[in-house]
């Protein structure tokens, strides 16, 4: 197992693990909620990175998988009485199947056309769920507070959700690394650089792109279920929020697209920036504006993202930062 000796494999995992253990060590629920938001962002950004960073396809519809997975799992738990573990598997599988079906069609598009199509899919998904009564339609679905008793009470259930999210995030990072340094990943990056040339070199682009799309769609669904299980309420507007898709793209770009560590730094940095501004008396009334200006400044001056900048300027880090 060569990869176990690679610092680039361990670094993102150790960072997430250390961050994740902070609330556990301090036994502090407020810290848990802060890290929970960060993990959601890191997980979404890392899964999107497989498509955006490795393959070069800008998707504004990543949140569709977050929403569909959440709705699938939520329905199975609230209406069918499934335990959260089984619901999580289905929350990942259903978006993955959806991505396979969608990918077969829309991944034939490139560039701006693909991006536009993904916006359309997001809107269509939201409209569909809003008018689909088995999933609650526009009034969404709620979980009875008593459901948390199955997991040892509300407090225990929130901690359980947190541990599951931490585990899922680490799995995403491992998958991201494995894809990045596999032959399949090389094919994706060849597509990113020049799709026509990649095909000439023997990369079966449609198949590779669809597989990347399916992998990137599997995890947001699970994250979505965990997020809404905690909230106890799921509504179409919250599950299919285009704004969150845009923010996820920004996180990937901020950290460094096409790297394993980048989405971790981007997701964590973006979330903490927003979270800190939100509760800082000086900035809380203008926190969105301040966050936007800061991000704009950072990205304009380090377009390759944090990881890209460090790799470029600090030669010794090139083997460590992947």
């Amino acid at each position: 197992m060569k990869i176990l000796r690679k610092p680039g494999f361990w670094l993102p995992i150790m960072l997430v693990l250390l961050l994740g253990l902070w609330p556990v060590m301090t036994d502090n629920a407020a810290n848990r909620e802060v890290v929970n938001s960060i993990l959601v962002s890191v997980a979404l950004a890392s899964s999107l990175n497989i498509l955006l960073g490795y393959t070069g396809y800008v998707s504004f519809g990543h949140i569709v998988f977050f929403g569909f997975g959440a709705y699938t799992g939520f329905y199975l738990m609230s209406e069918q009485g499934w335990p959260i573990y089984a619901a999580m598997i289905m929350a990942g599988l259903v978006p993955a199947v959806l991505a396979y079906l969608l990918g077969s069609a829309i991944l034939r598009l490139r560039g701006a056309y693909f991006a536009l199509a993904t916006i359309g899919i997001n809107e269509a998904a939201r409209a569909f769920v809003k008018n689909f009564d088995p999933l609650g339609g526009s009034v969404g679905m709620q979980l009875n507070f008593q459901i948390y008793n199955d997991y040892g009470g509300a407090a225990q259930a929130l901690w359980l959700t947190y541990y599951l999210l931490l585990g899922v995030t680490i799995v995403i990072l491992i998958v991201s690394y494995l894809v990045r340094f596999s032959k399949f990943g090389l094919g994706l990056m060849a597509i990113r650089e020049n799709e026509d040339a990649a095909e000439v070199m023997g990369v079966v682009a449609p198949s590779a792109k669809t597989r990347a799309y399916v992998i990137s769609a599997f995890f947001p669904g699970i994250v979505g279920l965990l997020f809404f299980f905690k909230n106890a309420t799921i509504l179409p507007g919250d599950a299919f929020r285009l704004h969150l898709s845009i923010e996820t793209i920004v996180m990937v770009m901020l950290g460094g697209a096409g790297t394993v560590l980048g989405p971790v730094l981007g997701g964590a940095g973006y979330q903490r920036l927003r979270g800190t501004l939100l509760v800082t008396p000086l900035f809380r009334n203008v926190q969105l504006v301040v966050a936007g200006v800061l991000l704009l400044t950072i990205i304009l001056f380090i377009p390759a993202g944090v990881v890209g900048w460090l790799r470029y300027h600090v030669r010794g880090l090139r083997r460590v930062l992947e």
């Binding site: 009034v139 709620q142 507070f145 929130l158 704004h243 969150l244 504006v289 200006v293 377009p303």
Partner: protein, 451 residues
């Protein structure tokens, strides 16, 4: 070239975030704390108004400040209504501080607010409420504005055993999930438009065809679904039942459907933005309707800016300045009166914010009043004692009657308060709101049918 395109893309993405943030910056969120009220009240008046509030801290009395934690939508699509709710709550807290607090045992208690911006989304509501409940050690919680955000906040309140008074959260479903410490100030959504159906029946017993066109969100769908069932039970034929997306700005297709279905009355709407646009476009297209009742938007003072399009529109309201709930009416009804009168609340609100309060403002104010009364009745601010006091509460305030369901199925659901219905009329040439239903509170005859 590719780099340039990437830069352009990033700039566009970030600009969209900034524009979204700037598009709806808060307009009425300043606390009145630093602003002197134009006509300060006499000490005696304050004592009457706040009931036992003027308690000088004697040698054996200690001063206690309890923190009320909540989030408000300072940014995002809910900022107008949420801002007014926040104004009302902050005014209440300021009034209480000005009055010197209220007595609990040998303590003189006042409140202080602690709030964060929830950005009108539930993405951070749980994070912020957890922070309020743990790091900030808020003693009591007030809900965010809207049922969706309150649903997420209620889980946290319940988990940490905090009492939460909800205001601006009308959907019934939140109170049917097994919570024991969440109490609703608003009339539930299921009874929001039922009065409009009764109003219509009283106005024109021969009218048979109604249409429901509503915003396709949780609150509005809850409201119209209940109203539709009620209308059908009274023998009305529902000729159109249609939902529109929250971001709808062109109601042309819906108006065409309304004209095709030819109902005599239209009920529906959703929130302020869409409801105002809907009313304006109904007027511009000259749709022939005898009666129009829309949710949320008509009771807002800003609705008058629609001019002639606002004329005749009916709207359900949780409270209106014209509402006549007084200590005398409380005595007649055999209820305990608590808090200031409606006139006093309006006077203070106008002095603090230089605008007329809406029912969202009154909802914010009464949330604080409910909590104060519960703590006073409990003689303690222990959450369990306060819950018991809330369960037993049955009072009349300037906002109306407050009584909570104590059954296991719907614990905390508001069962005492009733809606009133206003209509925009021109009693003296200018557009003004008049209460037209229920008849015992009406200040004017209903203009019916619409011209």
């Amino acid at each position: 070239m590719k780099k340039l395109l990437w830069k352009l893309f990033i700039v566009l993405a970030l600009t969209s975030i900034i524009i979204t943030a700037c598009a709806q910056t808060p307009t009425q969120t300043e606390a009145p704390a630093e602003e002197p009220i134009e006509e300060p009240m006499e000490e005696g008046e304050q004592a009457e108004e706040m009931e036992e509030a003027e308690v000088p801290a004697g040698e054996d009395m200690t001063a206690t400040t309890l923190t009320l934690g909540y989030t408000a939508s300072l940014t995002g699509r809910l900022n107008v209504s949420s801002g007014r709710q926040d104004n009302g709550l902050q005014l209440y807290i300021q009034d209480l501080q000005d009055a010197g607090g209220f007595e609990v045992g040998n303590e003189v208690v006042t409140f202080e607010p602690l709030f964060y911006d929830d950005e009108s989304t539930n993405e951070r509501v749980q994070e912020l409420y957890t922070r309020l409940a743990t790091e900030d050690n808020a003693d009591f919680l007030i809900s965010p504005y809207s049922s969706g955000l309150t649903g997420a906040a209620a889980v946290i309140a319940e988990q940490y055993g905090k009492v939460m008074i909800t205001t601006g959260a009308a959907s019934d479903s939140t109170y049917k999930l097994g919570y024991t410490g969440v109490y609703q100030a608003y009339t539930p959504a299921s009874r929001y438009l039922a009065g409009a159906v009764d109003h219509l029946k009283a106005l024109d017993p021969d009218l048979t065809q109604v249409a429901f066109v509503h915003e396709n969100d949780q609150f509005s769908t809850d409201v119209v679904t209940a109203a539709k069932d009620y209308a059908e039970s009274l023998g009305y034929e529902v000729v159109l039942f249609e939902g529109y997306d929250s971001e709808t700005t062109d109601f042309g297709p819906f108006i065409n459907k309304i004209e095709a279905a030819a109902p005599q009355a239209l009920l529906g709407g959703g929130h302020f933005q869409d409801g105002s646009t809907f009313a304006r476009q109904l007027y511009e297209k000259g749709v022939d309707l005898a009666y129009v009742a829309l949710l949320v938007a008509p009771p807002e003072p800003d609705f008058a800016e629609l001019g002639e399009a606002a004329f005749g529109i009916v709207g359900p309201s949780q409270w209106e300045p014209l509402a006549e709930f007084t200590p005398e009416s409380a005595a007649e009804a055999g209820l305990e009166w608590f808090g200031p009168t409606g006139d006093e609340f309006v006077e203070r609100y106008v002095a603090a914010y230089d605008e007329e309060p809406s029912y969202h403002s009154a909802g914010g104010y009464v949330a604080g009043l409910i909590l104060q009364k519960a703590i006073m009745d409990a003689g303690s601010y222990d959450p369990e004692a306060v819950k018991d006091a809330l369960d037993a509460m049955d009072i009349l305030t300037f906002y109306g009657r407050i009584k909570f369901d104590t059954s296991a199925e719907s614990h905390g659901l508001q069962i005492g308060h009733s809606m009133i219905y206003i209509q925009w009329q021109r009693p003296s040439g200018e557009l003004e709101k008049e209460v037209v239903w229920p008849p015992e509170g009406a200040t004017a005859e209903t203009i019916y049918p619409l011209p």
